[in-house]
């Protein structure tokens, strides 16, 4: 019962992280099916409808089930400790935010067993295609509503905690960047999840109540859905990466043994990215037939995002410059993040160029791009954070040898997995299709082999984590020699209640 009724930020954080790990493996299993089918040209294992369900549900599970809950779990564990608070501001609401999720994902995954199968029109749910979904349709819509309710409440909690629960002296510009990036992420979530809720509600009424939002016959427009969806969807991709920036900004200074270079520029860059994220959405729909003015506006606005993002990468590299660096597992993942996230950023810049995008659109180039930013970006940052703070959470050191092995196997295999997809995409291989022309055969086989190795190597991650929870070499309170911040002043493992009396920050 403790876990069901808990209002403690650490318990709830652990629940979020465990759910995220479970979903990571469920979504990962779907990715394995996709790569197995694409191992060779021709139809091998599954029928096309099921293949499309795999890509659709893989995306929904990984975005809403793995990455977002993992970040929320980290926020729960860390933000109260970082800002010197006794707990989250609204503890019962916190429990509610978490406990909606297992139900939401049970609903989503149960759609595989319904008439007509799971949704197969892509996670972006474009009408009119998505309206052909069978009995699963209303269940998917409501599952998304539930995830949205959870995210909004969780975000309200984060914002209020940061704005109202800081210890005396912890001014906003003294906060760790993880708190800053989460503050801005939570703002983005509160601003955009309701828009997604509105969009999917319109889908629901178009299907069941006879409305014509997305039907040209009634004066509506299917493209309107894409606009509303991506008004949510583009801020969403920053929701998936801003907390990662905060994590990397915590880890790099620790292992470079230097303060973060350009703290305030990091804060302003994060805020700029958040602002720009609201005015770039249509770069996801360059080929849909927009007026040229629209294409140009969204192209230039998108390219502008490279500026604040460049500031961040520059600052991380400058932090390492002439530092006394060591390369423990969290640092390896953080450096891996900087390197590979930047690859994803550059391919994003290529995609931002509207005329070039006409060639890349809906090809494997796009798949390669967003997997570089999401897997070697977001997921790597979550793994870095896990290795970095796990000793603080459990009081035990993880197995450094296994951690490093996990990093190297993952990093090699993930590049074997995703780098060739750039070539496939540039050569014209479309995404979301179970079969392909024979000229794509070689790189697909290599990509699949990378995929299987990457998938299996994550079992090692789970093994290291559970082994550390069960025991291991005791960690000191400080854990890392160069670590700064209030969470390191607490004992390891951190006590059940963090700061019942607020610490004073000078």
């Amino acid at each position: 019962m403790r876990w069901i009724t808990t209002t403690n930020h650490k318990d709830i954080g652990s629940l979020y992280l465990l759910l995220a790990l479970l979903m990571f493996f469920i979504g990962g299993a779907m990715a394995m099916v996709i790569r197995a089918e694409l191992f060779q040209p021709g139809m091998q294992l599954v029928d096309p409808q099921f293949f499309n369900s795999m890509t659709t549900v893989h995306a929904l599970v990984m975005i809403f089930g793995a990455v977002m809950p993992a970040f929320t779990g980290l926020a729960n564990w860390l933000i109260p400790m970082m800002i010197g608070a006794p707990d989250m501001a609204l503890p019962r609401l916190n429990n509610f935010s978490f406990w909606i999720l297992p139900f939401a994902f049970t609903l989503l995954i149960s759609t595989f067993f319904m008439d007509g199968g799971a949704p197969a029109g892509g996670w972006t749910l474009y009408p009119p295609l998505v309206l052909q979904t069978g009995a699963a349709f209303p269940f998917v819509i409501f599952a998304i509503h539930l995830m949205g309710i959870s995210s909004i409440m969780g975000s309200i909690n984060v914002v209020v905690t940061i704005l109202n629960m800081r210890a005396p002296g912890m001014t906003l510009m003294k906060m760790p960047l993880f708190a800053w990036t989460w503050l801005i992420t939570a703002y983005l979530l509160i601003a955009t999840m309701p828009v997604l809720a509105g969009a999917v509600t319109m889908l629901l009424t178009d299907k069941f109540a006879g409305t014509s939002f997305f039907s040209a016959a009634g004066g509506g427009d299917p493209v309107m859905f894409q606009h509303i969806f991506w008004f949510f969807g583009h801020p969403e991709v920053y929701i998936l990466i801003l907390p990662a920036f905060g994590i990397v900004s915590a880890i790099v200074p620790t292992f470079a043994r230097k303060p973060l270079f350009g703290y305030s520029s990091m804060v302003y860059a994060t805020a700029s990215i958040a602002f720009l994220s609201f005015i770039v959405w249509a770069h996801h729909m360059f080929t849909v037939g927009m007026p040229v003015v629209g294409e140009l506006f969204f192209m230039y606005a998108t390219m502008m995002i490279a500026v604040p993002t460049g500031v961040k990468v520059f600052n991380w590299v400058s932090t390492m410059w002439k530092g006394s660096m060591t390369f423990e597992t969290p640092m390896l993942f953080a450096i891996g993040f900087i390197f590979m996230f930047t690859i994803g950023g550059f391919s994003g810049l290529m995609l931002a160029i509207a005329p070039a995008d006409f060639q890349y659109h809906d090809t494997y180039f796009v798949v390669a791009h967003f997997h570089y930013v999401l897997v070697t970006g977001a997921v790597y940052s979550i793994m870095a954070a896990t290795y970095y703070w796990l000793p603080k959470w459990t009081g035990n050191m993880y197995d450094e040898r296994l951690g490093k092995l996990h990093f190297w196997i993952s990093t090699i295999s993930v590049n074997v997995l995703f780098f060739p997809q750039h070539f496939l995409g540039l050569a014209g291989m479309p995404r979301r299709i179970p079969d392909y022309s024979v000229q794509f055969a070689d790189w697909n086989m290599i990509s699949s082999i990378g995929g299987f190795v990457f998938g299996l190597s994550q079992l090692m991650f789970a093994y290291v984590v559970f082994k550390t929870i069960r025991g291991g070499e005791k960690a000191s309170d400080q854990v890392w020699e160069g670590a700064q911040g209030l969470e390191w002043t607490l004992p390891s493992p951190a006590p059940y209640h963090s700061f019942t009396d607020a610490p004073v920050v000078k």
């Binding site: 019962m1 069901i4 009724t5 808990t6 209002t7 006794p86 707990d87 609204l90 503890p91 019962r92 609401l93 429990n95 509610f96 406990w99 909606i100 139900f103 939401a104 049970t106 609903l107 349709f137 209303p138 269940f139 819509i141 409501f142 539930l146 309710i149 309200i156 909690n157 914002v159 209020v160 109202n164 629960m165 509160i190 601003a191 309701p194 828009v195 809720a197 509105g198 509600t201 319109m202 009424t205 299907k207 069941f208 006879g210 409305t211 014509s212 939002f213 039907s215 040209a216 016959a217 009634g218 004066g219 509506g220 427009d221 606009h227 509303i228 008004f231 007026p291 209640h497 019942t500």
Partner: protein, 288 residues
Amino acid sequence: MAHASDHYYVPHGSYWPIIASVGLTIGVVGAASAFNGSSTGYAVLAVGLAIIFYMMFGWFGTVIRESLKGEYNEQVDRSFRQGMMWFIFSEVMFFAAFFGALFYARMLSVPWLLGEDSGAATHEFLWSSFNEAWPTNGPAGVGGEFQTVGAWGIPALNTLLLLSSGVTITLSHWALKANDRAKTVLWLVATVLLGAVFLGFQAYEYIHAYHELNLTLESGIYGSTFFMLTGFHGFHVTLGTIMLIVITIRAAKGHFTPDNHFAFEGVAWYWHFVDVVWLGLFIFVYVL
């Protein structure tokens, strides 16, 4: 409000959130089954809603008891206030999606169907006989001929009602700050009545639209945006009215003091939000 605690109040284990999750899940499973044509769907939905109502009584009841015991210090009060503000912001963004749909249809997609800008070829080859700008039910005339609701009848009256209710709730707030319980309750009752009359007019207008104007949810994009916007607004007015009734009872019981009445203010903010959304609706749905 005997003593305000020094420590931030952190509640311990609560069953209400899990009851809420179960209620929500049962509710949406029922609704989804009903959409799929299952006859038991509505019953399941009703069970879910019943659990949600039970949860709300219980959860809010717990919070009220804790508040009366004086468990909440100023900082907890600030958390509630900020939480409510951000919740209202999320509601604003929910309406923004539907207003966005309205503006997109009126300013872009309908003109394109009429052949403006890049829609020239579409118009020529697909819908060359389509020539009706807003209000429209599209080239296929989905839902059949319809008439719109005039702005200067009931909708104008409703605007007046909601604006007046904004005044009455402010008078009630002033009375509360002056510690005048009778006046506080009186003005709250007036606010509830104005809200209820608004809802009555709205219901009458819907019946009128369906029976005499042939304006329905299925009347193309006009009917879709009209009913979804006014419908969600009406739903929020209903919630707001229920919330007002709750704080009226609480005010009558003397739960609020001149310096400690978050629930009152939260409801008042919510009521003003509903009011502002209505002004947007009145201008963009009815007048223009």
